[in-house]
């Protein structure tokens, strides 16, 4: 923050750890990113990491498609490699791409949408990220050892036990997923607490943006569903490492137990994957139709219904497992029932388009593609719900077609819509529109060309997870078409990444509120200042930002007001909805806005658990004696990887006596992780206070030693964004800004200050802003005008000061 109107003051509290492990005051450089606890930076970290794994998972998919492009093709890769590729493709895309992309937006956008300064537990938030990072590294490091997991992403027993999957591939999978699971659960707890506790005053639950609602429901699904997979992963790990018999049929265990536990998690998991993109699309469609979301309460209600009913359908993944007729029929019915709330959402999205003004910018294209493709995926899902024919469809390419339609056609397209939509909010720049359209069309054509033929292939009897197939079945032609579609998708993805890098580096600044949007994250500068909101906003309705800009479009019955009054004309607290509570969060006082300091401990804790996890995977293979030998004599990496103890050590190692030595790395890593968490509980907040120079809060400006954080160049604002600082007593300049609308009648606008110290009500004349609809590609004029109004008040603004060119 190098702007001239504010200065920072390092917070005085220092703790024990600060003397051994100094922390930055303001975050800067690589260390600033490693120790960040700022939800915005953590969101960016999630995005970058997830996009990297998207490339990895996409490469795996391309190799799969090349392997399958013609029948009986065995000259490219081996069957074992193919099995690892599709296993890792599924695991990567689900756990390392779609989920973290959603979490990136939960992190960045959700607190802005509810008017908060950060999430409830910022260090825990960082811990979530680092656990995700190290978990993703752990599971992929297996490639380097030739032990990539190859037992499918669902890992059915008994295939995954130590008899049929000897070696480390199963352990990498089991341990990696548990680390990722901790990341998800901890993050979900954070988001739930944030949404329940940290909403701005006036933001009742039915005024939450739909994306925030989906965040909440998804987080609730995570904390209820992940324990099931944790249970089965722990049990499998014990079976593999400690010779227990949870899934060992010969010893009385139940292989089908794995399937039940996994799918009790697995089905809600697919709703975890799709609800966030549904939320994104529910934000985008109203903005680009320039009218409210059709049936907001039902969209929210169906989301909640889908979340709840998602726990009642899991056995539809097991129709061929021999459940018996009654269970099969019952779960077929519950699965069909869940189609109803899903259909409601689709109807409502199309209802939003109806009689709108549809602007076909790239986010809108992806959102429309989402609706079409998710609907198609819904049809094939309905066909699966028919348990009779599902006995034919199960484990065939029909299933592969279905879930790629909902996961790529639905979740990925929705996420891309979110990336294109919120890119200006995060970076201040819009992605290139021409390239965006290219990406959309190539992705749309390529995706449908790749995955629609799979419906035919499945109905024609092609099983899934097969390395190659006989020429007799006539599957070759369609498989070739599928591979061509996949290639088109690859081209689209390459152009997308090119555009991403280019725009992030050199894109033109888009200005405030470039899409003329509806929700609070667009009411602050983009990129946002580190503290998000200078003053916590007071919310008066759903889509509060839109009605701030266009108060005449507000239907008064929405907020329970008398028809003659609108809170946007009279900010008298007595006119607020009864659910508005006037508890102020984050109103800054003489201490300024406090920004917490970064912390090393979340990363250290995650690293400790990563090492612990590696110790579990490499158990018995890196005995203490080996360390001595390696130190003394050196050794090849490949020789470390032996799971035959007789061959490695030349002697039979007694089991219980060496439990410690087999797992000493795991124990050490785990202890380090726990110790780091203990340290962070003792660590003082640190950080710094931000004081605004235009306020007299008794703290003088001090020189700050640390260099400014933001290194992005300051570009002059485009001419159409005339933010003119206006003195309190100079109304003529306000009138100048409004000259173009001199014809339009003016309304009186009263503003009441919310500080206790000043009861004076100022009257500001503003032009009517309802008609001043923005050019979509032009920066927000309405927003600029509102800022101009707000400059009338010398202190105590309700929104952020955009005339001060703050940099991020």
């Amino acid at each position: 923050m190098s702007s001239t109107n504010m200065h920072i003051e390092p917070a005085p509290e220092k703790g024990f750890f600060d003397s051994i492990l100094p922390r930055q005051v303001e975050p800067s450089g690589v260390i600033g990113w490693l120790t960040t606890i700022d939800h915005k930076r953590i969101g960016v970290l999630y995005l970058i990491t997830a996009l990297w794994w998207f490339l990895v998972g996409g490469l795996e998919a391309m190799m799969i498609r090349w392997q399958l492009h013609k029948p009986e093709y065995q000259d490219f890769i081996s069957a074992e490699t193919y099995n690892a590729l599709f296993t890792m493709h599924g695991t990567t895309m689900i756990f390392l791409v779609i989920m973290p992309l959603a979490v990136a937006f939960f992190n960045y956008i959700m607190p802005l949408q509810i008017g908060a300064r950060d999430v409830a537990f910022p260090r825990l938030n960082a811990f979530s990220y680092w656990m995700f990072f190290f978990g993703s590294v752990l599971i992929n490091v297996s490639w380097l050892f030739g032990e990539a997991p190859n037992m499918t992403w669902v890992g059915y027993s008994p295939l995954t036990n130590s008899t049929y999957t000897p070696g480390m591939s199963g352990d990498f999978w089991v341990v990696g997923l548990q680390i990722l699971g901790v990341s998800s659960i901890v993050g979900a707890l954070n988001f739930i607490t944030t949404i329940i506790n940290m909403r701005a005053p006036g933001m009742s639950f039915m005024r939450l943006p739909v994306f925030t609602w989906m965040t909440l429901i998804t987080a609730l699904l995570v904390i209820l569903a992940f324990p099931a997979i944790t249970i089965c992963l722990v049990e499998l790990m014990f079976d593999r490492l400690f010779h227990t018999n949870f899934f060992e049929a010969s010893a009385g265990g139940l292989p089908i137990l794995w399937q039940h536990l996994f799918w009790v998690f697995g089905h809600p998991e697919v709703y975890i994957l799709i609800l966030p993109p549904m939320g994104m699309v529910s934000e985008i469609l109203p903005v680009f139709s320039r009218k409210p979301l059709f049936g907001y309460p039902l969209i929210v209600g169906s989301g909640a219904a889908i979340g709840f009913m998602g726990f009642t359908v899991w056995t539809h993944h097991m129709f061929t497992s021999g459940l018996g007729n009654i269970a099969t029929a019952a779960f077929a019915l519950t699965t069909m029932a869940i189609a109803v709330p899903t259909g409601v959402k689709i109807f409502n999205w199309i209802g939003t388009l109806y009689r709108g003004q549809l602007i076909m910018a790239t986010p809108m294209l992806f959102a429309l593609g989402f609706i079409y493709q998710f609907m198609m995926g819904g049809f094939s899902g309905l066909m699966h719900a028919n348990a009779v024919h599902d006995l034919q469809q199960h484990d065939s390419y029909f299933v592969v077609a279905h879930f790629h339609y909902v996961l790529i056609g639905g979740a990925l397209f929705g996420t891309f819509a979110g990336i294109y939509y919120w890119f200006p909010a995060v970076t201040g720049r819009k992605l290139d529109e021409a390239k965006g359209k290219f990406v959309f069309w190539f992705l749309f054509i390529g995706f449908n060309g790749a995955f629609f033929p799979m419906h035919w292939l499945g109905l024609n009897g092609m099983p899934r997870r097969i390395y190659t197939y006989s020429a007799r079945n006539d599957w070759g032609d369609l498989n070739f078409v599928v591979t061509c579609g996949a290639a088109l998708m690859a081209v689209a993805v390459i152009i997308f990444f090119f555009d991403l890098f280019k725009t992030a580096a050199t894109g033109k600044l888009a200005g405030r509120d470039p899409w003329d949007a509806r929700t609070l994250e667009w009411s602050i500068p983009n990129p946002p200042p580190v503290y998000n909101f200078k003053e916590t906003p007071h919310v008066h309705s759903l889509d509060d930002w839109w009605y701030t800009k266009y108060p005449d479009t507000l239907h008064h019955d929405d907020i329970g007001l008398d028809a003659t009054e609108s809170p946007y004309e009279d900010d008298d607290a007595s006119h607020m909805h009864p659910s508005d509570h006037v508890v102020d969060h984050g109103h800054h006082d003489e201490h300024g806005i406090h920004m917490p300091g970064g912390s090393w401990f979340p990363m250290f804790a995650a690293f400790g658990f990563f090492v612990g996890g590696m110790g579990l995977v490499f158990n018995g293979q890196f005995l203490y004696g080996d360390v001595i030998e390696i130190v003394k004599n050196g050794a090849n990496v490949s020789e470390w990887v032996r799971y035959d103890q007789m061959a490695t050590h030349g002697y039979e190692v007694p089991y219980l006596q060496t439990l410690f030595w087999r797992f000493w790395i795991a124990i050490a890593g785990g202890l380090f992780g726990v110790f780091s968490i203990f340290c962070w509980s003792m660590e003082p907040i640190g950080g710094y206070n931000i004081h605004f120079d235009d306020e007299d809060d008794g703290v003088k400006a001090k020189d700050t030693k640390t260099p400014p954080v933001q290194t992005a160049p300051v570009e002059p604002a485009p001419i159409t964004d005339p933010v003119v600082p206006v003195k309190a007593d100079d109304k003529t300049e306000v009138v100048k800004v409004e000259e173009a609308e001199a014809e339009k009648p003016k309304k009186k606008k009263k503003k009441k200050k919310s500080t206790k110290s000043d009861d004076k009500v100022e009257t500001v004349t503003v032009g009517e802003v309802e008609e001043k609809v923005l050019d979509t590609p032009e920066p927000g004029e309405a927003a600029a005008k509102l800022d101009a109004e707000k400059e009338e008040e010398s202190d105590d603004t309700n929104d952020d000061d955009s005339d001060k060119k703050e940099e991020k």
């Binding site: 009218k291 061929t320 007729n325 109803v340 259909g343 388009l353 066909m383 099983p463 001043k772």
Partner: protein, 384 residues
């Protein structure tokens, strides 16, 4: 409309594009179970197509009609700011529930029909044991045991008792019906039936002229002692490295030919080679330890670990449905099993050995040279 005509119409509709008429098609049924399953699918398909037509066209209409061309300017009025319509919502929910009900009824009745063994009929029982990566078929009532290929009589329901010897597998013959998994510790089963009328109706689509090695075989070769159709099945639950190669074949025979087949299977092995060559073949078979895993009834080869090879000569495939039964393929299989089915047990326990450095040495336990290979191949293919 009689079910057959409905099926035919649906079949024609979907296969005019030639997309779903393969030998493992689920929409080209040859038995009542597959046909029932397909007819419930058709209900869901038509409902989906109906919804797609209505909703899809409305969506296209909205996109085309309400698309805003050009820039949004200060003069552009906002569109009507509707929030929703309770009547529309309620109506759509009711319609959705109704359509779901339309699909639900045939589904529930179908589940019970498919999942109940036909009563009052002479149901034959076959015990199926799946293991990595081949199939064992035992007929407990008939005293027959074979591997990777089995016969059923057309027109008679067959109950398959499904057991797994190791990991999860799935038994799937798409043209006869849906699949059922094989899970250790669980007694799964399913029933299937081949319908003679459907088989006859399909006759003109089955290729009869191409009965050559490696070609599309739908009929058993003319020189086989029993005649009938070949249907194709495959494992459909990922079971390890060679899951893609775990296939099997179903011979659908009429009553007379089925009786012939049963009697044929019950006899001991007899070779078409002369006695000297046959003895040499058997000797090579036993000397190379093949007999410790494979049974050839009537000889001293009595292993129970691998597939029964008593009548290998009249089997249409090698390596569990993956390769056609030719001398060349069989020779390749027994010389290089790991190249055909990676990780297969014959290779890992029979051929593979670790030398003193822990390195893998192929054919350490079983060393086959070309001469031994040819002798064994000649012998096995002669075991009709």
């Amino acid at each position: 409309m009689p079910n057959r005509i409905k099926s035919l119409l649906a079949f024609l509709a979907l296969t005019t594009a030639g997309c779903v008429d393969g030998v493992q098609s689920t929409l080209d049924p040859l038995g009542p179970v597959a046909e029932r399953q397909m007819s419930t699918f058709m209900v869901t398909l038509w409902v989906s197509l109906g919804i797609f037509a209505v909703v899809g066209s409305f969506m296209v209409y909205c996109i085309v009609k309400f698309r805003h061309e050009g820039q949004i300017t200060p003069d552009t009025p906002l569109p009507e700011q509707g929030h929703g319509s309770a009547i529309t919502e309620i109506a759509l929910i009711l319609v959705s529930v109704g359509l779901v009900g339309v699909i639900a009824l045939p589904t529930v009745t179908g589940v019970f029909w498919v999942g109940t063994e036909p009563a009052n009929e002479d149901v034959m029982v076959i015990d199926v044991t799946g293991q990595q990566w081949w199939w064992k078929f035992d007929y407990p009532e008939l005293g027959v045991s074979t591997a990777n290929e089995f016969a059923i009589p057309a027109g008679r329901p067959v109950r398959f008792n499904l057991k797994s010897a190791d990991v999860q597998h799935s038994f799937w013959v798409p043209r006869l019906g849906g699949k059922m998994d094989l899970l250790p510790g669980q007694d799964n089963w399913l029933w299937l039936e081949a319908d003679p009328a459907m088989l006859a109706a399909n006759n003109d689509q089955l290729s009869t002229a191409d009965n050559e090695p490696g070609q599309r075989w739908e009929h058993l070769p003319d020189d086989y002692p029993f005649q009938g159709y070949i249907l194709y099945g495959q494992c459909a639950e990922f079971c390890g490295d060679s899951h893609a190669f775990m296939k099997f074949r179903v011979l659908v025979l009429d009553d007379a030919n089925f009786r012939k087949w049963v009697e044929w299977q019950k006899t001991d092995a007899k070779s078409t080679l002369d006695k000297e060559q046959a003895d040499a073949g058997l000797l090579a078979f036993r000397q190379n330890k093949c007999g410790s895993c494979h049974m050839i009834r009537g000889t001293s080869a009595s292993g129970q670990v691998g597939p029964d090879l008593t009548h290998f000569g009249t089997r249409t495939s090698v390596a569990a449905g993956w390769l056609e039964n030719t001398k060349e393929n069989l020779g390749h299989w027994i010389m290089n099993p790991n190249e055909v089915k990676p990780g297969n047990i014959m290779y890992k326990t029979g051929y593979l050995q670790l030398d003193e450095n822990g390195e893998e040495v192929q054919n350490y336990k079983i060393k086959l040279d070309d001469a031994a290979k040819n002798t064994i191949v000649d012998y096995l293919t002669s075991l009709e």
